[in-house]
Symmetry: C2
Subunit: 310 residues, 2 copies
């Protein structure tokens, strides 16, 4: 059964059943006989942007009645240029916490315990054990202390680490340092975890000067946005500082880019949020958000695109 004039577009059939709302699935799931071209978009007021579908943002300009754009990522820099004036933006803060935090731990452990090396040894059928670094006893600096930063901290604490937190503003009651103190904190960090949105304030936050302040063999982990770490400055370190990066600049990293083979660098292709953890949490969130919308209650996760956050 097609909905003639949907008010709401959602990415999953599991979010279609809302009494009082005309909800349509976009894009159509595989095997669905309907065509996206048949949709009458003139009445769409709320659009839940499909996750991991860069093409889906093109639809925004074809929604004359749009009131709310709901994205499923915490960061929203990729829709700012197509967000019409007067449309409320809601983000997906919280949906990726577990997924991204566990990848952050995976990256830290992979780098300290040389998991990429063992994977390559395995593909060569080579048993060649060697002593490695460890995570225990490490001093970890988490830069960006929103939901995901806190989720990373919770997971780090049982690993016998010391965690120091940095956010835009100091919160002394929670032992959160201000970003102004970054230069003073870097020399005491064995591991720096970047969990920052892409804003003009965060671009190049870790550049040549900051990397030079890190001790030899320190590890930089980035699970926020690639722009926070200056790729050229990292390459210039020549392996003195190591890195485990789920996000890079440029992204996607082109074939042949020197970062692929840089010493001490482990790269995953921006898969922090894209795990089985996300689906159930995202569907629960969208259903709860649509219930609020149907009842005329305020939506949660409203964000102001002009607020530069850290």
């Amino acid at each position: 059964m097609r909905v003639a004039e949907p008010q709401v577009l959602v990415p999953w059939p599991e979010c279609r059943d809302h009494p009082g709302l005309a909800v349509e699935v976009y894009p159509h799931p595989p095997g669905d006989p309907g065509s996206d071209d048949e949709l009458d978009l003139s009445g769409v007021q709320l659009y839940v942007l499909p996750y991991g579908r860069p093409d889906a943002r093109e639809l925004i300009s074809r929604l004359p009645a749009l009131q709310v754009l709901q994205v499923l990522t915490a960061g929203y820099e990729n829709v700012l240029d197509v967000l019409p004036d007067g449309v409320q933006l809601c983000n997906g803060a919280g949906l990726h916490d577990a997924s991204t935090a566990e990848l952050a731990l995976g990256l830290i452990l992979a780098a300290q315990r040389e998991l990429p090396r063992w994977a390559l040894d395995q593909s060569a059928g080579r048993w060649n054990p060697e002593y490695t670094r460890s995570l225990a006893d490490s001093r970890v600096l988490i830069v960006g202390h929103g939901n995901i930063g806190r989720a990373i901290e919770q997971r780090l604490l049982p690993f016998e680490t010391t965690v120091t937190r940095v956010a835009r503003r100091a919160r002394p009651a929670q032992a959160v340092h201000a970003i102004d103190e970054l230069h003073a904190l870097l020399p005491q960090a064995d591991v720096v975890v970047l969990v920052l949105p892409q804003t003009p304030l965060t671009r190049g936050l870790l550049g040549a000067r900051e990397l030079a302040l890190l001790p030899d063999d320190a590890l930089v982990v980035n699970v926020g946005r690639g722009s926070a770490l200056d790729t050229g400055a990292l390459l210039a370190e020549g392996g003195r500082v190591r890195a485990a990066l789920d996000v890079v600049d440029p992204e996607p990293l082109p074939s042949g880019h020197p970062l692929w083979n840089a010493p001490g660098v482990f790269i995953t292709p921006h898969v922090g949020g894209g795990s089985a953890t996300f689906g159930p949490r995202a569907r629960r969130f969208v259903n709860a958000q649509l219930e609020r919308w149907a009842k005329g209650e305020p939506l949660v996760n409203q964000v102001d695109p002009n607020d530069p956050r850290i």
Copy 2:
């Protein structure tokens, strides 16, 4: 300065300084001018077996005055055939908890988040993101609930997992199940972590019948001893059950063995205990043990080689 007739052999110079004890370092550290052949071994009463040096066990038969053999691993199956009658064996339980537990988490996260795949993609300069499994929401069964099992559990809990514990005997007050219940527990496990010593009771504990009880796509992680998992039975599963193994049977895994290329299997070369975490903890432990010995106090970590543990 050489000690003419050492009473104690330790593997590190940092453990040599004990008033009242004649302590010698064996094997000599690199750069030390002394030769191991010069050592008069006739008075050695306590031998701290060097870690990761299989050749060092040959010395045991040349120590006529030996009273105590201190190994630095939790398992001690590799010295049982050379342990003289009447010599007290002490193990290294506790020294590897942090190191092994963090590798266990690394293996779980690597398998669920496909880190070996990204490592191989990186070596090919290929950016090819895909959705992966996650650790969050997983039901984890820890088989073997000694120090390391508990350390793994502590690290798992913040990952939004459900942990079930199995040991040789049930401990209802701590919600520990008995090994007799294993068959009933396996069908509800997404991840099974084996942390078992090598004993006649643990050999082949996870065989064809047990693997068949696991749900499709379950993950078996082994950080104890390779013999607990039947390699042939795992291979026969053909990837239906996945595995992340720091210990294997046979070990070291020979070049060309089918396990190297088995689908869904990630192998690290028995590096669970061999990380930077170990050294400081082991030296602190040996120094405390030698202080007890010098004072005539009972040593800790005394084990009975005839006690089959789980």
